[in-house]
Symmetry: C2
Subunit: 219 residues, 2 copies
């Protein structure tokens, strides 16, 4: 994970951790209650579904009391919001690093897209993502947070598109940003299809094709 | 809906219909029990969620008995499968028409992509789609059906890519098909973001950019 800072690595460790009863964690490394609740919610919302997960199951999986969950979160939607906020923060750390590296010329725009795609394809919580997106259609608060997330993502993709081709006008930039948003979002669901290229090949090939598109995008 | 045949139009009519109690349908036009159950399931799975929808609610919304539902469907997953199969059949009618028109030269590849994108953007069941995709991660049968759907979609996109640029080698074709799959799938979720272009502009601009990519896709 060359992109991620210390914050992100510690977050990933908690996120990836199986937090069930059989897991031995040394006391000084033990994640706090909030992190354990969020990690347990990721597992349960993905495996059982958001609506079928009871607060008591969540408490057992996170090894906290139900009361502790309610001291930290108003309700289950509030836990979904916390997951989206954590993911958003994680993404923004990475996106900002990639954008800064591309804008300063330390990496090429093609390399920037390749890194973003690699990150997109490393998400092991695909089912959870769809569960959250379905909830975004029902909860105004979750929907608003997802739109904010999408807006920040859009701004970074737009900056990279400008970097790849500085002759693009306003209308062309809108169009390529729309396409980049769709492609990056769409790649995160590719495990549902019978894809033929592995993760690394997909990232480098798609980045190459995005550059071919961007360099010829003037209308 | 210039793409769709009579079958599709009648299907869309049932799909778009509000089948609640206040709806008066002349007896000879009244859709059959199966169609009413599926239309009601679309509404309820989207608005309440798959897991929280009770068979009794579904029966009331579809104006059938619970017994009638169980004579037609084994369980709720079976209804999800029926929704996916109906959508798959609808898509394939449209996709095949678009592909045939492009391969025979009646429409350009750019026009073919534009039509497919317009269809993708007309889906008013976004929340339902995410609900189904989340279930695809939990149910092997739903997952298998979604993969079959994706495989058919992939084959059509590949044919269109060949038509757009007949110099593409095998590896390039794999890569562009992967990108097209992601982009088309990703566009179906664009209402979650703060998009700036309307449906028609998005379809024509993205089709143009796809063509710019395909014509320059040789590695």
């Amino acid at each position: 994970m060359p992109l991620a800072g210390a914050l992100l690595r510690s977050y990933k460790r908690v996120k990836g951790q199986k937090v069930g009863a059989g897991n031995l964690v040394a006391a000084q490394q033990r994640p706090d209650g909030r992190s354990r609740i969020i990690a347990a919610a990721r597992n349960l919302f993905a495996s059982r579904g958001f609506h079928l997960t009871a607060m008591s199951e969540l408490a057992a999986e996170a090894q906290v009391s139900v009361g502790q969950i309610y001291r930290l979160f108003k309700n289950k939607d509030d836990i979904i919001l916390a997951i989206v906020e954590d993911d958003h923060r994680e993404w923004m750390v990475q996106m900002t690093q990639v954008r800064d590296a591309a804008v300063s010329g330390r990496i090429s725009p093609a390399e920037a897209f390749e890194r973003l795609i690699l990150e997109t394809l490393s998400d092991e919580y695909e089912t959870l993502t769809f569960e959250i997106l379905a909830e975004a259609g029902r909860s105004a608060e979750v929907g608003a947070r997802i739109r904010q997330f999408a807006g920040d993502f859009r701004a970074v993709l737009r900056d990279l598109a400008c970097r790849a081709n500085d002759r693009l006008g306003e209308r062309d930039l809108e169009a390529v940003t729309e396409l980049l948003m769709a492609t990056l979002f769409g790649l995160s669901g590719r495990n549902l299809g019978d894809h033929h290229l592995d993760r690394e090949a997909t990232a480098s090939e798609i980045a190459r094709l995005i550059m071919a598109m961007l360099k010829n995008a003037e209308s």
